[in-house]
Symmetry: C2
Amino acid sequence: MVDYPTLLQRFTELLRNQNLKFTRQREAILRTLHETDDHLSPEEIHRLVARQNPDLNVGIATVYRTLALLESAGLADSISFGKDGKKYEIGLKKHHDHLVCTECGTIIEFTDDVIEARQEAIAQAHNFRMTDHTMKIVGLCADCQPKA
Amino acid sequence: MVDYPTLLQRFTELLRNQNLKFTRQREAILRTLHETDDHLSPEEIHRLVARQNPDLNVGIATVYRTLALLESAGLADSISFGKDGKKYEIGLKKHHDHLVCTECGTIIEFTDDVIEARQEAIAQAHNFRMTDHTMKIVGLCADCQPKA
DNA sequence: CTTGATGCAAAATATTTGCATGCTC
DNA sequence: GAGCATGCAAATATTTTGCATCAAG
């Protein structure tokens, strides 16, 4: 996991480069994403930020706007699972993929060098300039499998 | 690609098993998905079905209901990326993954045995019973890359 | 005939946008 | 002070649902 100071620095640089402003709302959203270190929907993020910053009165629109900003800058990633809509997590983690349990919704992250390398090779073979990739394995986690 | 008679047979079996009815609307949607052999949003599917079946007057709600039915039965798969929302394609293809161009939206399908095998191994390592998996590589396709 | 399916429109969600005001820089 | 950001509410967009009617089995 990236440490917060580093993340914050990347964020302020990004803002400066684009002549955007560093606001308490934006920082609160970034911090919440970092602290939670989990996959959150925009509404969940909004609720958490509002709870942790009762004085700010953050609007849902700002959450959407900030998430879009963070995502386009690579500081946040989104992933969507079926009906549950789009969820965000902090970016700058080591690249990883996901195992998703269809029963309980648990998300497990993993990394696999063989797959990483293979993805790069495939992108090249198709003349793609890869900017990102995601892999998702869905199934039943150990706890949710019917006992043999 | 699966041939249509086979697909249709699977569909009728599915309907029979669940005491559901075989309607012209449902068939029209299945056929459109099969003929197009591409990734379509619910609205696109609705438009195509309506155009090809002017006599049916298919409602968007029926498209959503049918897509959900097809997806849960494995006869259709959905994939979502970025702002463009969820898109559907016919199921029963050989398993494949996707390369998505973020610029023009082009979707290229590919298969890779190394990755397939690896996914299986990873699921086992986490005690997951894998029911499905998807991989998506996003980037810029050959046409959309800035010319060196 | 019986029961599920459909179309329509309304409802429920989700996301985006316009605008007056407030805050960074 | 200038200009971007915010909150709010309205506008859109996307899906789902209730219900009377229709049609498959």
